[in-house]
């Protein structure tokens, strides 16, 4: 009986620490940096995906229904990614990384929001123009990523 209780407690501890490992905020500078990289990669992915959908919709290769859904998804994903990153405290030496990435994230969310509004208002011909900011944003994120990776070494 006692052994069983100990085993049960051990299993619960392992599960709890596994969950904690998955959700804990980064504590070291290195962990923060790798989370920053992941965030930049995710944001860039969302920007490029939305851009791709807009271009495909403009070229008529995808349906407007599907493009609407994809743009909504990209917006909510970017919002979630940005706000998750925002919640983590940066180590002092990486404060500038946070500022840079947060502002790029905010800009991306703003652009995607305008895109979503445009699709809901059925201003299909305006989409490419609204989405024009996505390419430069993605490139900026690529720059951030390169800088981050260089800093890691």
């Amino acid at each position: 009986m006692r052994r069983r209780v100990i085993a049960l407690v051990a299993v619960l501890l392992v599960v709890a620490s596994a969950v904690w490992y998955g959700h804990a905020p980064p504590r070291s500078a290195q962990a923060y940096q790798s989370r920053a990289e992941e965030t930049a990669e995710a944001l860039r992915s969302q920007a490029r995906a939305a851009e791709l959908w807009v271009r495909a919709a403009a070229a008529g290769t995808v349906t407007r229904q599907a493009a609407t859904v994809a743009i909504e998804d990209a917006e909510s994903d970017a919002r979630a990614t940005a706000s998750r990153f925002d919640r983590w405290d940066p180590p002092p030496e990486l404060a500038s990384t946070r500022t840079e990435l947060t502002s790029t994230g905010a800009e991306l969310v703003e652009t995607l929001t305008r895109l979503r509004v445009a699709t809901h208002e059925r201003r299909w011909e305006d989409l490419p123009e609204v989405a024009g900011g996505l390419g430069p944003l993605a490139d900026r994120l690529t720059g951030d990523l390169t800088a981050l990776r260089r800093g890691l070494r």
Binding site: A18, Y21, G22, S34, E38, E41, A42, R44, S45, Q46, R48, A49, L52, W53, A56, G60, T61, V62, T63, R64, Q65, A66, T68, V69, A70, D73, D77, T142
Partner: protein, 407 residues
């Protein structure tokens, strides 16, 4: 001859479900074809066990899993049962959401509004439609997913690059080894789906297969599953071609079908969506039933689609109960894509518990007589069992270590 091709075709469509649609696109976008070998291994493994369990069914006129309990004993069989129940609970939720997401992409009406509608239709179909009709319709409609294969050509790929990616089974520069291994396990879980075997052999009992159907069954398995695998690799390939260089990670079902739209236009996209709809719908029914079968077989209840529901009351209750549970789970707004990844990883952890008893029964000469396993079945079966055991042990540590594959 007609049933021949029909069964084969539905095996192709039946191979793909929400797990494949998500995992293949995700893997293709991040790793190119560097994991295509996993699909090849999985196809060989699942074909070997599907053939074995169908052979057992033909010989004993009982589904292979009827015999699990007498091989593993009630204790281990119960562990397997509880594990499978949890996994299929998640999977049904994911498949239901998959159907709803396909409908959302077609109509841009939010998927949560579709979930209860889909669940109601599933319930109705369970009640009225005979087993074989159900399997065939969705299998055949699922064939429309072959547009993914066509799309590969229309994207005008750099073939040498595809080939070199497929023959370089290491993570690309941008990815780490743990992430690579995590997706090896994910693909194994997504493609060696035990419910396919459950369904295959239980269905064989319900359609009263005899030794004369053995050839038909083998053709279904040996042609259908490899073609299903080809489809899976095509999904990886189109995701690679469209997303890899842009650094786009697949986070939604929309991105699975986008390359088809880019390659073949609106019509292609619509066909792909129809395929996704059919595959996930069919898989919803299959996963539901296989769980019902498994529980009924463990306790020895009467079960099945042949009997009227009142003669298999406990079976019907379990199936309907699980459907309601999964619908409720889907309505909690948990992200269906994340749930799918978790479900296929958990599915990999209980895989050996379904393979081992099948392998043991296949070798029992007192039960199998002339139809006992040959050397080929045993070699492939043992190798597959070993692979699945390693994958099962590695699955959860990798899930934690890579934070669900995100790093």
């Amino acid at each position: 001859m007609f049933a021949f091709t029909l069964g084969t075709l539905s095996a192709i469509g039946g191979f793909i479900d929400i797990g494949d649609l998500v995992a293949d696109a995700l893997v293709g976008a991040r790793f190119g074809l560097a994991l295509a070998w996993v699909t090849v291994v999985s196809v060989i493994g699942i074909a070997c066990y599907a053939e074995m369990s169908a052979r057992i069914t033909v010989q004993t006129r009982r589904p292979a899993f009827d015999l699990i309990r007498s091989r593993l004993g009630p204790g281990y069989a119960l562990v397997g049962l509880v594990g499978a129940f949890a996994v299929t609970g998640l999977l049904v939720m994911a498949e239901l959401s998959g159907v709803a997401l396909a409908l959302q992409l077609a109509t841009s009406v939010h998927y949560l509004l579709w979930v209860p509608v889909v669940a109601a239709v599933v319930l109705l179909l369970i009640w009225v439609l005979p087993f074989e009709t159900m399997e065939r319709i969705y299998g055949l409609l699922g064939l429309t997913m072959l547009v993914f294969v066509v799309a590969v050509w229309h994207l005008d790929p750099d073939w040498p690059r595809l080939w070199s990616s497929a023959t370089t089974p290491v993570p690309p520069a941008s990815e780490s080894w743990p992430a690579y291994l995590f997706f090896v396990v994910t693909l194994i879980g997504a493609q060696m789906t035990p419910y396919e075997m459950f369904f295959f052999s239980s269905g064989a009992v319900e359609s009263r297969w005899g030794p004369k159907d053995l050839t038909e069954m083998r053709v279904n398995v040996l042609v259908g599953f490899p073609l299903g695998g080809l489809l899976a690799i095509a999904i990886q390939a189109v995701a690679f071609l469209v997303f890899f260089d842009a650094g786009i990670q697949v986070e939604h079902l929309a991105e699975t079908v986008l390359p088809v739209g880019l390659a073949l236009g609106k019509l292609g996209l619509a066909i792909a969506l129809l395929g996704v709809f059919a595959a996930t719908f069919g898989a919803t029914l299959e996963t539901l039933f296989s769980t019902g079968y498994q529980i009924a077989q463990y306790f020895g209840w009467s079960y099945g689609k042949v009997q009227p529901p009142a003669q298999a009351a406990r079976f019907t209750t379990v199936v309907v109960g699980l459907l309601l549970l999964s619908t409720a789970l889907a309505m909690t707004t948990l992200d269906p894509i994340t749930v799918t990844i978790f479900a296929v990883v958990f599915s990999a952890t209980v895989l050996p518990l379904t393979f081992l008893p099948v392998l043991l029964v296949g070798n029992d000469r007192q039960v199998m007589g002339q139809l006992a396993n040959g050397r080929l079945s045993n070699t492939l079966g043992t190798v597959t069992l070993a692979i699945s055991t390693v994958a099962a042990l590695a699955a959860l540590p990798l899930l934690v270590l890579t934070r669900g594959g995100s790093s």
